[in-house]
């Protein structure tokens, strides 16, 4: 249970980090260390080089401009948790953060690290999918942006190139007063979700849903946007009956099966949790999330 031998690099700038990444063989980037460090301790990964991003300047911070919330890749989950800006403008992100690990891990864990690790059940990955986030990456040829829909390409694998690093994540904000809910089922508080549901809703003055985003995490290699549910409820008035019927389509997701839960059970949870998240977002239920 000790990390294998490696060479350690702690660049101070993004350019230096990118250049190291491009020149070293078998290198791993170390962000908050809440996934990579256990993997090193258990020797699931054996990198020759570890490039520590913790001393790179300019990768942390939360700012809003032009209806977009931009969060630096090395921003700690803790800073997102306590950000009034996030709470006010992107409440789904705040709710999801509260379900990630524990205080001790949120103090270190970063948003960029979580997205790059790309655990299928990770809360931040689901929020990025729900919000149609954009991932900003830096490489030898400068910056580029990746739409989150194109970000996951396989199990725990993203579309960033080997010589690129994530520098920021951009969340296009929904209208002021929009509703949201993040509901997950896990065996213990702080665990990865077995299944999670992230919901965003805009409801007009007449009480009709004008815009909806429904995302199921933990069921497949990447979060699944339930466009069928979104279509079925848009233009409708929220009701328990509407949501129950619409969410039945979640049972058709081709779901993972593993030691934690069978695919049948995940499909069942997907339908139940998406309904609960919708009810909560629409104010039909005051019940807080299940742990």
């Amino acid at each position: 249970m000790k990390p294998p031998p490696f060479q350690y690099h702690d660049p101070k700038t993004v350019a230096e980090a990118v250049s190291l990444l491009g020149s070293l063989e078998n290198a791993k980037l170390l962000a908050g260390g809440q996934s990579l460090m256990p993997m090193l301790n258990m020797r699931f990964v054996l990198p020759d080089h570890v490039i520590d991003l913790n001393r790179v300047e300019g990768l942390s911070g939360i700012k809003e401009s032009g209806g977009v919330l931009e969060i630096g890749a090395m921003t700690r989950q803790r800073d997102i948790e306590f950000s009034d800006l996030v709470k006010a403008k992107c409440p789904l992100l705040h709710q999801a953060i509260m379900q990630i690990g524990h205080r001790q891990t949120r103090n270190r864990g970063t948003i960029g690290g979580s997205l790059c690790h790309l655990d299928p059940a990770a809360e931040l990955v689901s929020v990025a999918a729900a919000h149609d986030a954009t991932v900003v990456v830096a490489g030898p040829n400068g910056q580029r942006e990746i739409k989150f829909a194109d970000f996951p390409v396989a199990f725990m694998t993203s579309s960033i190139e080997l010589n690129e690093i994530v520098t920021a994540v951009r969340f296009p904000l929904w209208a002021a007063g929009h509703r949201s809910a993040f509901v997950e089922f896990s065996r213990r508080h702080g665990d990865f979700a077995i299944v999670s549901a992230a919901v965003l809703l805009e409801i007009d003055g007449g009480g009709k849903i004008t815009r909806a985003s429904v995302t199921i995490g933990g069921v497949a290699v990447a979060p699944v946007r339930m466009t069928e549910v979104e279509r079925a409820i848009t233009g409708q008035t929220p009701s328990a009956d509407l949501f129950r019927k619409a969410c039945e389509s979640c049972r058709a997701i081709e779901a993972l099966s593993d030691v934690h839960a069978s695919s049948d059970y995940r499909q069942h949870l997907a339908a139940v949790l998406s309904r609960r998240a919708l009810e909560r977002a629409a104010g039909l239920s005051a019940k807080t999330s299940v742990h």
Partner: protein, 162 residues
Amino acid sequence: MNEKRTVAVTVNGKKYSKEVPVRLTLADFLRHELGLTGTHLGCEHGVCGACTILLDGQSARSCLMLAVQVEGREILTVEGIAPSVDKLHPLQEAFRDNHGLQCGFCTPGMLTTLIEFLRDNPDPTEQEVRIAISGNLCRCTGYQGIVLAALDAAKRMRDARA
């Protein structure tokens, strides 16, 4: 491949400078290099919380950090909690008085976690305390005493400030 680096760090108010292998975890650095064996190692992969320390006042799992990462930083371990050798911190007193420890293995992590928590939330509910220690495993299953101790400590610290 056994690259080494010098780490200068302040632990419990005392400055240290040591040359260490870059792959050494912070937990092993504290225990083996500095001899501060109060920080316990349960799982070594970030699950049990026994190795929790405060890094610049924020709780972190020392098994999930490298010693080289704390260059220039300040660390508080369980050894640094008591105000003096013959006086316990109110949190430690509350643990003693409320049967907040049995075998004592999880205690260092419980204490460091609760120091941060009670600093930020001096008047918590029982539910908030339970969530605060949700990242710390007690295999004696002595959570009831730990929760009582945390609530009692919060009261003692509030009374001391009043």
